[in-house]
Structures are given as C-alpha cells and as structure tokens.
C-alpha cells in the first residue's frame, strides 16, 4: 500500500487520498486555443517509470499533493505542494 508523505499531515496511507492524475499538464491560459485545451484534457505521456501526479488528501487536510512516483515500482521519490518544483530522480526519466 502506498504511503504518501503529505507535506502537511506527514506519512499517510493511500486509502486517505484520491488520485487525480498527471500533474505535468498545465492548464492553458483562458485565451488559448481549443487544441491546447484538448491536449490539456486528453493527451497524456503515461510514462512507465517516474510520473509526477496529483493525490488529493481528501481523508486528511484536503490539500492537493504533488507526488513523484514510479509507475513500475510504486516507489515514491518526492512529494510537495501544488507549486513545488519536484525534479525527477537523477538519470531517470
């Protein structure tokens, strides 16, 4: 079971969170094109390996937590707040 380090609550069980998908896609500015919004809503890199993603801590502080997790091993490299820059581990993509 994933244990996710919420920046506010500390290490918590996966069961307290709701997964919310890829955190690398950035919502375009309001005046961006339909195409850009389309890519934001639908196109995903879906990597096998490190993935930066959202876990919403609904069973705790209700903060959106950014998590760098490996989709192959389920290992977690880093967690942070929505606007923290979380680099991927060295040498990996």
């Amino acid at each position: 079971m994933h244990r996710i380090n919420c920046p506010w609550c500390g290490l918590r069980d996966e069961a307290e969170f709701q997964y919310q998908g890829d955190a690398t896609v950035v919502r375009p500015e309001p005046d961006a094109s339909e195409e850009e919004f389309f890519r934001y809503a639908y196109i995903r890199d879906n990597p096998k390996g490190w993935h930066t993603e959202w876990w919403h801590h609904t069973g705790g502080c209700r903060q959106w937590v950014k998590v760098v997790r490996n989709t192959l091993t389920h290992e977690i490299h880093a967690t942070g707040g929505p606007h923290d820059d979380l680099p991927l581990p060295e040498g990996d993509k």
């Binding site: 094109s33 339909e34 919004f37």
Partner: protein
Amino acid sequence: MSAHRLKNGGILINRSKPVNFTFDGKSYQGFEGDTLASALLANGVTLMGRSFKYHRPRGCLSAGSEEPNAIVEMRSGARREPNTRATIAELYEGLEAKSQNRFPSLAFDVQSVNQLLSPFLTAGFYYKTFMWPASFWEPIYEKIIRRSAGLGRAAVEPDPDTYEHSHDHCDVLVVGGGPAGLAAALSAAKSGGRVILAEEQMAFGGMVSPTDMIDGKPADAWVVETLTKLEGMKNVTIMPRTTVFGYYDHNVMAALERVSDHVKEPEDGMPRQRLWTLRAKEVVLACGSHERAMTFDNNDKPGVMLNNAVRTFVEKFGVSPGKKIVIVTTNDDAYRTAEILLDAGVKIAVIADARAELSDAASRIKARGVEIDLGTIPRQANGGKRVKSLTLQTLDGNVTRTFGCDCVAMAGGYSPDVHLASQTGVAPVWDDALKGFVPPAPIRAERSAGASKGSFDLAACLEEGHAAGLEAAGAAGFEAKAGTAPSAEAIANGPIAAIWRCAGNGKAFVDFQNDVTAKDITLAEQEGFVSVEHAKRYTTLGMATDQGKTSNVTGIGILAEARGEPIPDVGTTRFRPPYSPVAIGAFAGHERGYEFQPVRRTAMHACGEKLGAVFVEAGQWLRPQYYPKPNEGVMEAIYRESKQVRETAGICDVSSLGKIEIFGDDAGEFLNRLYINGWKLLKPGKARYGLMLREDGFVFDDGTTSRLADDHFFMTTTTANAARVLSHMEHASQVLWPDLDVQFCSATEQWCGVAVAGPNARKILEKAFGKALDMSEEALPFMGVQTFEWNGTTARIFRISFSGELAYEVNVPWTYGEEMWNALWDAGQDHGLIPYGTEALSVLRIEKGHVAGNELDGRTTAADMGLGRMMSSKKPFIGQKLAGREGMIADDREQLVGLKLIEGAERLRGGAHLFEDADDANRENDLGWITSVCDSPQLGCWIGLGYLKGGVEAYAGKTLYAVNPLFGEAPAVEVVSPHFFDPKGERLNG
C-alpha cells in the same frame, strides 16, 4: 487411547485434557494441543480426503500450513467452512469436521471411477474435447465438470461471525517464530525499536526439535524462555496464530490473526478473525522452509507423507503415523527422523537413500541396525486406501525390492520459503547446492534469515536471525546493542541429490490436490507449453489451495528435464499473495451487509420517521421518499403529495444538498470561473442558479448560490455531487488559481434545511417565525436571501423554488433541525401543510422541466439541456473551450424535451427510446430516450422529460413512440416544451 498415540512425547499436547470431536459423524477423542490431523492419526484414521480430479483417497501429506490433501469441511450450518487444513486446525471440544469432494462417503466415492478414465483426463484434456455436439457444453458437460470439481461446500447462509481490521506500526516486523525469527526478534528488541513478531501457528519454535540444544538447553525450553523474555519487553508485540500473508507496497504487510478459530464459537464481542495492516520500517523474513515430496507411482496413497511431517507428529503430538515405516530420501534430514523414530520405538523397514555414498548422519543410523539402501529410490507405493508396501528401484530404473509398511516418509529436500520475499515482484534465485530457490536480493527494506534464506543448520539459523534482527533495528535507526547470538552445535549436512521424478508407468503425483502428475508436465512441454507459466496454466500445477508449496520446485525440475535446460532457465512462476488462503470476510471486516457503507442521517430524520416516511438511499444519505397514509399505495401517496403542495403547501427535508461556504475578496471572481454564468454583479442578499461544466465541456453540477456579503457566498450543490464539487473547487483554488483570495469549506452538516412550497408557504413561515423575519415582497423577493435570528440561533431563508410554487428554503444549524421542523409543522396545521418526499419533489420539478440527476448523466451539454444561452461569452470559465468542439455543438445532438403520454400504455417509463415509427425501431433511427417520468396531477396524464434529436423545435406537437421492448410496450407520446406547467412562472409569487 489408540495404539497410534505413543506412550511418551508430544511437546504440544496436554495428555490430561482429552478433547472430543467428530469426523464424518463419527466420534473420536484427542488431546488439547492436537491438530485435527494429529488427532485423527492418533485414532488410526489416515484417510482424510479425496483429490480434485480423480477422487483418489488421500491422507495428510504434511503436518503444517502447506497441506494439499487433508482439507476438510469444518463446522456446520452457517458456519460451515470448506477446505480447512486438518494439519493446522486446532482441536477444540465439539469440533465437527467432514471429508469433502466425495459421494456418498469418503471410503466409497463413486467419482473415483474418474480414475478409470484417467488415461484420457490428462493435462489439457478439456480443451480438446467436449465440443461435440456443440450444444452439449453448457447443459451437460459443463454441469458435470463443475459438480465434480470444487472440493468443499461453502455455507449458504450469511456468515454469523464478525471480522475486524486493526492497524499497527513498528520498526521491525519479524515474520515467523522459529529459531531464526525468535533470535531476530530478540536482538532487534534489545536495541530498543518497536518489534512485532508474528507466527502463523499456535506454538512458536518452528521446526526445532526437543532434541536440539540451544544455549545448552533443550530447544523447546529455550523457545519458552525466549518468548517469556520477549513478552516482558514493552517494545515487543507477540502475535501468535497470525499469518503474515501479503507483502504490499512501501513495506506494508497484511496479516491475519485467527482470534477464535480454535474455539467452537467466538466469545462475546470477539471477532472470528482480525485483519492487521502492519506498517514496518524494516522486515525480517524468517518463514522457514517446506519439504518436497518425491515423485513416484502412487506416491499419494494415504500413509505416504513428508519426512518432517512424520517427525513432527511423533515429537510434537506423540503420534506415530505408522508402525512400520519406510523412509525414502535425497538428503540427510531423513536421518534426524530416523533417530527420533528409533528413540520412540517405531520400526523402520528400510531407508532408501538416492545418494551413492553413506553420509555421516546415515552411518550413525546404520550403526543402530537400520538397513540403508544407497543409490535407491522409490518405484511405487502399493495398497488400497492405505499404503501397504513400497517397491524400490535403482536410479536407472531397475526394480529392487518391496518392503511392507504402513507409512512412507519422503525426504525430497527442502525448499526455502521465499513466498513473501518474492511477492514484491522479483524472482527468487536458484541455488544448486541447496537444490532450491533462495530469496532474491531485496528491493525493499527487508532481509531473510534462517531456513527461508537457505540456511538449514540450526546454528546458522540462530546466528542469521540474530544478525538480521540487529541489522533491521539498525536500519530503522536504533543502535545495535550487540550481544551474542544464541548458540547451537553446528552440524555439517551431507549433499542433497536432485531427484525430480522416479521412473514408473503409473501415476506419480507432483501437485497432489490438483492431481497433476509428472506425465502431465512432460505432456504440456511436448505440446508447446514450454514456459513455466504456460505449463502451470495447462496442467494447473501449483494452482490448488496450497499454491504448490510442496510441489512447485519438483514440477520445475521435471519441466527443466523435459526442456533439456537448467532449472534457472526455467525459473519459477510468479508468487502472489496471500501466503495462505484468507477468509473473504476478514478483508471486509466491519464493512458488510448494512454496514457496507456508513449511513448519513439528516437532522430531521426523526421528524420524517414520526410522520411515517418511507426512506430511500440517496448516496449515503437516507431521505424521506414519500409519506404514505394508512392503506395508501406508493403511487397514490406520491400523487397526493405532489398535488397537495400546489394546492396548499408542503414541507420537504432538503438537508442532504451539498453546502459550501465561500469567503474572500475574490470569491465572486472564483465563482465566475467555476460557473458558466456571471456572478460578480450578484448583490448581497440575492441568490442565483448556477451551472458548472467539467473541463471537457459537459455539465458537471448545478445549484443555487447566494451572496451573503461582498466577500461571502453560500453555494449549494446536488446531493450526489457535493464531494466532487468541493474537490473540484479545491483543485481550482489550490492548483489553478492560488492567487485568488478565496477560502471555503463544507457546511453541509452545519446547516440543515427544509423547503416549504405552495401557495400557503408564506403564511406558514410568517406564523412560524413571526417577527423574526420580514417576509414582505420587498424584503424577500424571488431569489432573495435573508439571515435572521430565531430561537436563539441564526437562520437563513432563501426564496428559491424547485417546484415552481411560491417557495422558501430555510436553513438552521443542524442542532435546531427538529425544532424548526416542528415549528413549521405546527404553524402549517391550519394551512394544509403536508410533508412530501423525494418522489413528489421529482414530480414537481418534472412538471416544471427542471433537470436533475437523471438528466445530468455526464454526457449532456448546457445546450442539450436548453441552457446554452446561460453560457457567458464575456468571461472565461471551466469547460468553455472544449464545449465548443464540433461534436458537442452538432445539430444532431439530443435536446431536452417534454413528453406527454397519449395512449398505448398505462404509464410512461424512464429508459424508453423515442421513435417516429414504433414498427420500424432500431438503433439507426433511434431519436432519443426518456430520462424521468411521473404521473402528473397538473397535466392529468403521465409526462416525462427526455432527450430528443432535433428537440422541441423539430418535433413540437408531433407524436412519437416511446419504444420499450423490455416491457413490451410502445406508447404514443406528444412532444412538448419541458416547461409543462406554469411556463411563465406566475406561481412563484403565490
């Protein structure tokens, strides 16, 4: 007691406490501390089950958790549980067990005729046959196959016992309470970390023998002493009868504690079993090993068992499984058994040792006068329902001699128990000296120790355990307090021979329970099932309840020989949890039946109850659905309620609506971005209907939101979407627009609410709230909001209307719900006030053409609902861009319409499809469907809402057919505007 119980020995049994039990209806007696298997053996019962496919008679193979054969039905009635391993079922007074998978009786099983068919019933048989004629499969062949498969019978009544979950955290989790595990727990505990020691069995000590010496004491005394020491340490939790069965991500382990399985029924308040979630910083796996059987013809005869099972029965339970025993072996462990048998006075007919040379251990036994045949392996067991003799052969297949016996002990070598270590997804590694797979290099914070790591010598197990405990504690951040490992005399074991199968022409079983023979495996290879995973699936090797604990390695050895490749190239199949089977009820815990999900009750639940409401589930909420009068049917009640509201007034509990309190200078801007319509200009004291889209442009939710102050809004959401809307807003404020000054939280359970609707609504409220509230048109116009003091608390009133009547929603704090209801109820008595439920609410809104859950199915656009014009073009909002995609604005999209039943059926039904021609209805000319229906008192007929291609514009006044093949009807309906009733909204003013 019976002759099979030895005079002495049996460290686990208490001879002064006899215990009565029954097996297949016959009464027997055993001792406290016995397992069902040891007690049956003590009574001379060797036949304990039938195999899966051929229904061959079987006795117990092992004395432990790995048992494939002796699986029985325990208990009866609602507590009947299939497939319980007799070898670990603890005996209790009144235990009832039955043999399974046999008819009519264990001794005489009709389906054992399958054995006659056995030349055909090989691996893969099913795939090649039962195809002729085609129509015979389900009604005939499949039924027979299903009935003859499947082992035991489950209960058919609800399980009367309870299960619970429990959680713990530790620095070091030690799995297994054998010598390695005990040593690990002790050294880890001494360094101060929090230690949990879990052991599957009732007794600790694992495979140690009372004849072993540890720290100069008999091993069983050392075990007790060590446990006592551990129990005395505050940082140690000892968990007997607890199987750690699953190794999940991030070092979380799941364990099952069998709290009450060793008693007839759980004591008051106690669960049957407890499922533990253990979060360990570091793990020590000291799970021991499993002995392998040897593969020779008829090796499944009752009385043929594992060498260490024979030893365990003698040493731990004081039972000799036979009076004259043949031992067949590939390694030195057989001689430990021989020694113990000789000491117990049990006769050994011969020991057949596959190895060419006499080992030291063997010579010691030879010196005691036992015949040892070197270079000899078993050929076939003989006998009926119990082994009578064993024929031996040389390694190259020459039959030598046959020895009479009533028990055969097989020492095929040990396989380290790498189950948990491999569950993490890495494959174990072949060790050729050991002739077994050992744990892979850890990828988690874990390490193995003792036999499970491939160390079979007691001294090494103790040392490794000690070191592993220290290492684990150190890794968890606790300073190692060295000390020395418990010591035992190191014994050099001789080599192990790799004998995967012994030559023969008959059935030599590898996987006993699933009746997989050596030939099945070679046949699979011959047919192209070369991969070990293919061979497993084709033959079912290792797929039975024991998951191949005693058989997988042998099967892999045979496959490797057939492929002509070394074992490491073949590899193992994938290890999966659970380590041993776990009751489904334990996973569910408390969350079963009515407790599956918590119930949410509104503050006014009791008021509804008092008025005879029938409640309905709305998500987790319970809401009054309707309030039947005596002798009134559902439909009549709904009709009456919805009619009466428009005539006088009705009161409805609307507390389950989601409520969100929003603060901040940018709250208006925030709402502007969330909703499709504008919010900035909304004045304090006013409410507005709002519609939200998802980012993909489809409608997400709707509700009424009010401005209470410049920087304070109060939002309502639908009951169903309350949580989702809150999450959506948190995303927007935390992730998308952190710069907006906006703060909000749920207020759903702070405020409860009622709607009072109908021409008399104002009068009733005036009477109930009196001077507290100014109800005048000026003070509280349509879409007006007021906060007022009532009864010592703050109340809010919203003049909004879902029903289309003059209506108000009043909110008070949850604690005042009943009082408010009662006040309104009393005030309404002179004004024809009735309570109405969700059904009447639905009728009223359908008559008005207001959309609800049925119309908001996640695939509709605002325009589909006729609300396209609400979409502001003056500001950006979520969903705006993608709502413009060509398919979402296409002309052929279905639009919301009203439908009136004309004729052809008694009623309308949701889910009917709309067609121009009822006789030519198919998916290609399908025009739409009906979403909601009701029997409308105002229209005097059944009406409905639906989505229709072309909408009202194309079909107004036209007749369509509501085709409903499921109900065999296709009534004619007229297409009308969805605003059936009072389209101008005149009634909003009373």
